[in-house]
């Protein structure tokens, strides 16, 4: 106890120090590093928040601290409140004016979205009561990824206006999802839950552009349905009203993956395309393409690029999109520079035989839940396009592969669908984030890796940077004596390393500069 006293005196003094290139928070009873994140405006880091249990008030109640700092880690606000010990923060986001935190109360079955303004004061609170079915479905999907490594994100900013939330939901017997919009201008909310035309709905929020919320929906008529109907849905950001619901079958079967807003303010939907009669859940794609869809659902721009013809000029690619030694590509992000050039940032993955899956099947006479196929996540890829989306170059950046055991049945899923599964259900990609400078002349792609050298065995944090017309790479060895560690984005060209020392109940936080 005497030792604690000395530490606390030090802590108390630290509160008065003005410099803050390194921060240490003492007496952190419980911390989940996922409960800390960068507060970003676009790709620019404006600050950080740290949410942790700071005291135990009684058997059922904890004191929580939500610490908000600026981007130099100077403490701006400590929001302290007491609540049930069953409360945890699932996600957070910042939309340029306000912060939102999604709290989950496991005991009371509620999701609570709390909005904080730039003055650090709570503005609004939106509570969603969960049914027992909802809770069970969430636990088997969204909440099952509630661990340190998860990369699931279901809370998205709409710049200066509000936030979109996408969570799994149950409606009667249907397995569906719920899109909620929470305004930060006034207390206003709308929800959208698709229930027609299917029994099971998988929904992906693609992005928001010019007042339209774009969703990709796969509708399954039954749980055994292997050929889902792919729809592109547009909702009004203002009211949540359905603006359009179109099939993604056009010249080809198109499978939307993301919406990226480029410099002209237009949102372009990136996706892979398949032959018109293909099964997008099973067959290989022919290539990748870009769509621009207006608020009425009219496709005003279409561009299709074949794997072997267009990308094949720069890399060894076969007609099914398999790149030599790389596998298939999952596109994480697109950035456009001030000179008009566009870079697509992707990561490779390929199917491989799983020794564990095969052995399990043999031992369990085929009843094993593990697939005989595993996924090997491979390298990073950067593809350069001109402003007309013609491929102008491509380069693969090698990293160490990591293997993911797949659930049974994964062998029969298309590579494009598999990519989404790795991203959203398994959190298997190493890609972390991309940052771009305000002048749009440089960008940095960050990802994690694992090294096994004679000098170092542990995780690394890596960067591919583009500036002044050239690419450079860098990596930081992040292994330390800490019980757990995590890396968050810093100002452009920097990262923030979080290290939790469980024995000392201490959270150390410091910056590292990328080269």
């Amino acid at each position: 106890m005497k030792r604690t006293i000395v530490v606390l005196v030090a802590l108390f003094l630290v509160a008065f120090s003005a410099g803050a290139q390194k921060m240490s928070i003492e007496n952190v009873y419980k911390v989940t590093l996922r409960n800390s994140d960068a507060i970003r405006q676009g790709s620019e880091v404006k600050g950080y928040y740290f949410f942790y249990v700071s005291d135990k008030v009684d058997r059922n109640t904890n004191e929580y601290t939500l610490r908000i700092t600026d981007n130099n880690l100077s403490v701006l606000k400590d929001v302290k409140f007491t609540d049930s010990k069953h409360v945890s923060v699932l996600e957070s986001s910042f939309n340029g004016t306000d912060l939102i935190f999604l709290f989950y109360n496991d005991d009371e079955r509620t999701l609570e979205y709390q909005v904080y303004g730039a003055d650090g004061n709570k503005k609004f609170s939106y509570v969603r009561e969960l049914t027992k079915k909802d809770k069970a479905y969430l636990e088997s999907t969204y909440l099952s990824m509630n661990d340190e490594e998860n990369t699931y994100k279901g809370l998205y900013p709409v710049e200066n206006l509000g936030f979109i939330s996408n969570t799994p939901s149950r409606e009667d017997k249907d397995f569906t999802f719920e899109i909620d919009y929470f305004s930060t201008e006034a207390k206003k909310q709308w929800s959208y839950i698709p229930t027609e035309g299917g029994k099971r709905f998988l929904g992906d929020y693609l992005g928001c552009s010019n007042g339209v919320v774009y969703l990709e929906i796969l509708k399954y008529t039954s749980r055994m349905d292997q050929k889902p109907d792919s729809r592109l849905v547009g909702l009004s950001l203002e009211s949540g009203k359905l603006l359009f619901d179109i099939s993604t079958d056009s010249k080809y079967r198109f499978f939307p993956v993301t919406v990226s807003s480029l410099n002209n303010g237009n949102g372009y939907i990136f996706g892979e395309f398949f032959d018109p009669d293909a099964n997008i859940a099973k067959d290989n794609s022919r290539g990748f393409g870009f769509w621009k869809v207006d608020e009425t659902g009219k496709i005003s721009f279409e561009k299709y690029l074949l794997w072997d013809v267009d990308l094949g000029k720069y890399l060894g690619v076969n007609s099914s999109g398999k790149i030599d030694d790389f596998g298939y590509m999952y596109l994480h992000k697109m950035v456009q520079l001030s000179d008009g050039s566009i870079y697509a940032i992707g990561e490779g993955y390929k199917k491989a035989a799983s020794a564990l899956g095969i052995a399990s099947k043999v031992l369990t006479l085929g009843r094993s839940g593990i697939s005989a196929v595993k996924i090997r996540v491979t390298n990073m890829i950067l593809i350069k396009f001109d402003a007309d989306f013609d491929v102008k170059g491509a380069k693969i950046y090698e990293k160490n592969p990591n293997n993911i055991e797949m659930p049974s049945g994964a062998a029969y899923v298309s590579t494009a669908a598999l990519g989404k599964m790795i991203k959203y259900e398994l959190g298997g990609f190493d890609y972390a984030y991309t940052q771009q400078d305000n002048d749009k002349t440089s960008f940095t792609v960050c990802y994690s890796d694992y090294e096994r050298d004679k000098d170092y065995k542990g995780s690394t944090f890596n960067a591919i940077s583009y500036a002044d017309g050239k690419f450079t790479t860098d990596h930081i060895q992040t292994k330390s004596d800490a019980s757990r560690s995590a890396v968050l984005p810093g100002k452009e060209g920097q990262v923030l390393i979080l290290e939790y020392y469980k024995k000392d109940k201490r959270l150390d936080i410091h910056f590292e500069k990328l080269n």
Partner: protein
């Protein structure tokens, strides 16, 4: 001193238009320490290592031992490091003043004190409890005359004479081992709930109490120090001017011109990039920093009384007896020479200790106030080389300050630039800088090695 003031003072643009060296300074011209003197001082300090008092019980004795162990570790580190200035001429000058004070005050004759200048940049002087008293170069360069230095020394000698350090340790040990305090701690630990809040409340009382005693000790040292000073022949009004200077230390500068990096680092072949220092938009400007700490609590945390109150104490205590009192009694010339030399010592010490953003800022400040100063040019190239090396190995963070509202604006701009520069930009700006001064630096000792390193890294 108020921490905010200390931090502000921190960056320096160090005071007064004092003349720099007129000749070309090279690293070889910097002060050389007398290692035998330093070792003697270290041995003398170790001889005074304290033991727990005889009447201390077992718990108290253990606490005493732990504190003394830490204290002597610090003292040993100090005497073994590069901070103390033991150059015979400069130390001799300081000892002349110390001897004058001690000989004029019989009550100090038995005092076993070792007063020394330290190369540290921040404006401070301190007494370590074993007789070691340090006056930082970062304070000395702000002083206007010997009388102000004498006041600083008298104040620190008073702390030693009045055994303030010993009293503070005793108060802490007794409080920590106090039966009621321990019962409070056990009660809180037993409860298991709201532990942090209750501990914080308990400790606030303890810290505030300790700081109040600390402030009382400062006032006591001012009064006692003034009494010592009155017997020396120095003008006691120096106490007033020194305190006034400390009160405004964040607004003072050693050199009149602050460096403008957008012109100092702008070269035809490699123009300065405005994006390095462009202000990024703030989003949390409405948030009040440290909102959880009340102004009254902040006041209670101060280690020293406000300068205004200390000046008032002087005004109420000082009675002019009409005696002739001087600003200088040893050597005005030596005093000024040391001030000039100490700017270089501070710069070099920052480099030695890898305080690189400060080292670079000092060097650029010197360069803008003494254009073409060869030591400044050498320091800039060397510092950029070191920054590049640390950045490449991801070890730069501890050597570069981060922007802070308490820092001077030009320093914050430099920090912002260092924060944003990529490795190749660091190399390019250093190469352009070195090229701009290449011809005049050709024969400067050690410069060729820095250029070779720069060329090697740029390959």
């Amino acid at each position: 001193m108020n921490p905010a003031v200390l931090i502000k003072a921190l960056l320096f643009t160090l005071l007064s238009a004092s003349a720099a060296y007129s000749q070309v300074i090279t690293p070889g011209d910097l002060l050389r320490d007398d290692t035998s003197l330093r070792n003697r001082y270290l041995l003398a300090s170790q001889a005074r290592e304290q033991a727990p008092p005889d009447n201390a019980d077992r718990d108290e004795a253990a606490t005493y031992r732990k504190i003394y162990e830490e204290q002597y570790k610090d003292i040993t580190t100090f005497w073994s490091g590069s901070e103390p200035v033991t150059d015979p001429a400069i130390n001799g000058y300081l000892q002349s003043i110390v001897d004058r004070i001690i000989s004029a005050n019989p009550e100090l004759h038995a005092l076993d004190a070792r007063v020394v200048f330290s190369r540290d940049w921040w404006p401070n002087a301190y007494c370590m409890g074993d007789g070691t008293i340090a006056v930082n170069a970062g304070l000395f360069i702000y002083l206007k005359n010997e009388a102000e230095l004498a006041f600083v020394v008298c104040h620190e000698l008073a702390h030693d004479y009045l055994r303030h350090n010993e009293k503070e340790v005793r108060a802490y040990v007794q409080k920590i081992n106090d039966v009621a305090f321990q019962q409070d701690l056990k009660r809180i630990a037993r409860q298991g709930y709201s532990v942090n809040r209750q501990l914080e409340d308990l400790l606030k009382v303890m810290v505030f109490d300790s700081r109040r005693h600390g402030r009382d000790h400062e006032s006591e040292a001012d009064t006692c120090g003034l009494r010592f000073m009155m017997h020396t022949g120095y003008d006691c009004r120096a106490m007033r001017t020194c305190l006034q200077m400390l009160d405004h230390i964040d607004d003072t500068a050693f050199y009149s011109r602050a460096p403008r990096i957008d012109s100092l680092l702008d070269f035809p072949g490699y123009p300065f990039r405005p994006s390095w220092i462009r202000k990024s938009s703030a989003i949390f400007s409405d948030m009040k920093q440290d909102a959880s700490v009340t102004p009254a609590e902040k006041d209670s945390m101060k280690t020293h009384p406000d300068c205004a109150n200390r000046i008032l104490l002087f005004d109420n205590t000082w009675k002019d007896d009409g005696a002739v009192r001087q600003d200088f009694l040893v050597s005005e010339q030596k005093f000024k020479e040391i001030k000039s030399r100490f700017y270089y010592e501070i710069m070099e010490q920052c480099y030695r200790q890898d305080e690189l953003s400060r080292n670079l800022y000092y060097a650029l400040t010197l360069l803008v106030n003494d254009p073409g100063n060869a030591y400044a040019v050498f320091s800039v190239v060397r510092c950029f080389n070191r920054i590049r090396e640390l950045q490449k190995n991801h070890r730069l963070e501890q050597s570069i300050d981060r922007e802070n509202a308490a820092f001077p604006v030009p320093y914050n701009l430099l920090l912002r630039m260092l924060d944003r520069m990529r490795l190749d930009e660091l190399e390019s700006v250093n190469t352009a800088f070195a090229a701009a001064y290449g011809s005049q630096m050709a024969s400067y000792p050690g410069y060729a090695a820095q250029i070779a390193e720069l060329k090697d890294t740029s390959k």
